[in-house]
């Protein structure tokens, strides 16, 4: 079903950013605000993502990324603002949106006392997947873990567990995928395999992805566009190349550190001004 050869991955990492992206925004967030008492976690945030776009949501801990994703998934109620996903309002059509989206995080887990098959079969039912047996086998093959099908999830390695979580995330063939640090705590080899598989699926299905990661090299490789957040606000956004040019920096990691320390992207001082 999905191509397992390296061509899609090559295309993915070398493609012109934004290629294959249509005009209508799949995710449209306007003026999103979340206050917890006196603390403003997200402050009048507006963002959009187009079909097939991979949008990196970046920033230091406490920047508001997780809260933003949670509001987009309907786990947390916004204080103000609107979230429209696939043209539907999260307030009134949450279940319809969830039917066509999915989420995977390094920080959540599948029941460890069930086998891989049992876990995926349960979620296949929750998402109303037809022919789930065939679908599960395809996904396990895709993520190169067909041998764990009857293994108890608690006995899987971190790499296998991450890939099983991704199998769950792809079960319903989502239009939108929220990926929260999908390669966190993976060794470089497995992390590369995960990225490669995501690339293959992306090439095949044109899935919109909201991607968070603290690995800036990975972000540069994967994301069409990035949004850097600090203190609940957008500090800078654009293609990784645009952001680097604006910050006059060689790496997103330096940009990240600068934003994490200063809470903003400091304009570089030109040599003339310096003199």
């Amino acid at each position: 079903m999905y191509s397992l050869c390296g061509l899609p991955y090559y295309w993915w990492t070398h493609r012109a950013k934004g290629e294959g992206v249509s005009d209508a925004p799949i995710i449209d967030v306007r003026n999103l605000t979340k206050r917890f008492g006196d603390t403003t976690a997200v402050d009048h945030l507006s963002l959009s993502a187009d079909k097939g776009e991979i949008l990196g949501l970046l920033g230091p801990n406490g920047a508001g990324k997780t809260t933003t994703i949670q509001m987009m998934l309907g786990l947390t109620t916004p204080t103000e603002g609107d979230i429209r996903i696939l043209g539907m309002d999260i307030k009134t059509q949450r279940r319809d949106i969830l039917q066509r989206s999915n989420f995977s995080s390094a920080y959540i887990s599948l029941p460890t006392n069930l086998t891989a098959w049992e876990n995926l079969n349960v979620f296949g039912r929750l998402y109303g997947i037809k022919h789930s047996k065939q679908r599960i086998q395809e996904l396990l093959d895709l993520f190169e873990i067909p041998h764990v099908i009857n293994t108890v999830t608690g006995a899987l390695s971190t790499g296998q567990l991450t890939r099983l979580n991704l199998c769950k995330a792809f079960l319903n063939d989502p239009d939108i995928l929220f990926l929260d640090e999908p390669t966190a705590s993976l060794d470089p080899d497995i992390a590369e395999k995960v990225r490669r598989t995501l690339a293959n699926v992306q090439a095949e299905k044109n899935v919109t992805m909201i991607y968070t990661s603290h690995n800036m090299r990975e972000v540069e490789l994967v994301c069409d566009r990035v949004i850097f957040m600090a203190k609940g606000r957008i500090v800078t956004q654009g293609t990784p190349k645009d952001v680097l040019e604006r910050a006059q920096s060689n790496s997103l990691e330096d940009v990240f550190i600068s934003i994490a320390r200063d809470g903003e992207l400091k304009e570089p001082v030109s040599e003339e001004e310096d003199d």
Partner: protein
């Protein structure tokens, strides 16, 4: 050595200081035990009860139905929190009604199996035939199952709101009801103030009704009607409280914290 010991003691004291539920546990269980067994002793001292064994075994089997029914909801959802699967469930396109229905059905299965096993064992070892209750058995069990769901929803709402610190409630709340529901003794044994509370729970009428059937062979229909009406009230309260608390949890962002910490 004592520095290390005091370090560990301090570690547990910090826990109790931060969690009212944990601190309450220190007193809760002994108080509940004292109440149940104390009132039972008072009852047995006051009356020569020929059917005491039947009442106790019947009470025990019926209590288990209520307990299993409540536990099916609270344990199922608590386990999703413990194993960090709760987010996966809450981002799946399943409605709260469907989720609650599934755990309630688990309650029916668990309580049904437990009743079957306990009923068989009671017949074998104590010559207690649960079918002595006749057709009244069905509504009695039904009322206890439904009340267990209502209590389960209230308990789960509190756990969602207060998180892992409130996990003791999973086991604690049913046992708060046990002395007041007059499981092993008649309501008359309770002090007057407690009797008012007892009258608010459908379970009280089931246990009173069970003893009435075992003693007289007749079903007190008025008790059953009261229990059914109260069950309706508690189910409305339970589901409304669960829904309201879930809204609060979403508002305060606790759901994701529960699932990812």
């Amino acid at each position: 050595m004592w520095t290390r010991v005091s370090g560990m003691v301090l570690r547990y004291l910090y826990l109790y200081r931060r969690s009212l539920a944990r601190a309450g546990e220190v007193f809760f269980w002994p108080i509940m035990d004292l109440m149940v067994w104390g009132f039972l002793t008072v009852y047995l001292q006051r009356h020569v009860v020929a059917d005491a064994v039947l009442f106790l075994i019947g009470g025990m089997i019926f209590w288990d139905v209520l307990y299993r029914s409540q536990q099916a909801i609270t344990l199922s959802l608590s386990e999703e929190i413990w194993i960090k699967n709760v987010i996966n469930i809450f981002i799946a396109p399943i409605s709260m009604f469907e989720l609650l229905l599934s755990v309630c059905l688990m309650g029916v299965i668990k309580a049904g199996l437990a009743t079957l096993v306990l009923g068989t064992m009671a017949a074998l070892f104590y010559t207690f035939n649960i079918f002595t209750l006749g057709l009244a058995l069905v509504p009695f069990l039904g009322i206890l199952l439904l009340f267990g769901w209502a209590v389960g929803m209230i308990t789960m709402a509190l756990i969602l709101r207060f998180g892992k610190a409130a996990e003791a409630l999973v086991w604690g709340i049913p046992f708060l009801l046990q002395p007041l529901s007059a499981v092993f003794y008649p309501v008359d044994v309770l002090p007057a103030g407690f009797r008012h509370f007892a009258g608010a729970f459908p379970s009280t009428y089931v246990f009173e009704g069970m003893r009435h059937v075992l003693q007289t062979g007749n079903v007190d229909v008025s008790m059953m009607v009261k229990a059914l009406v109260l069950n309706g009230v508690w189910l409305v309260i339970g589901s409304a409280f669960f829904g309201w608390m879930l809204g609060q949890v979403r508002e305060k962002g606790f759901l994701s914290r529960l699932g990812m910490e």
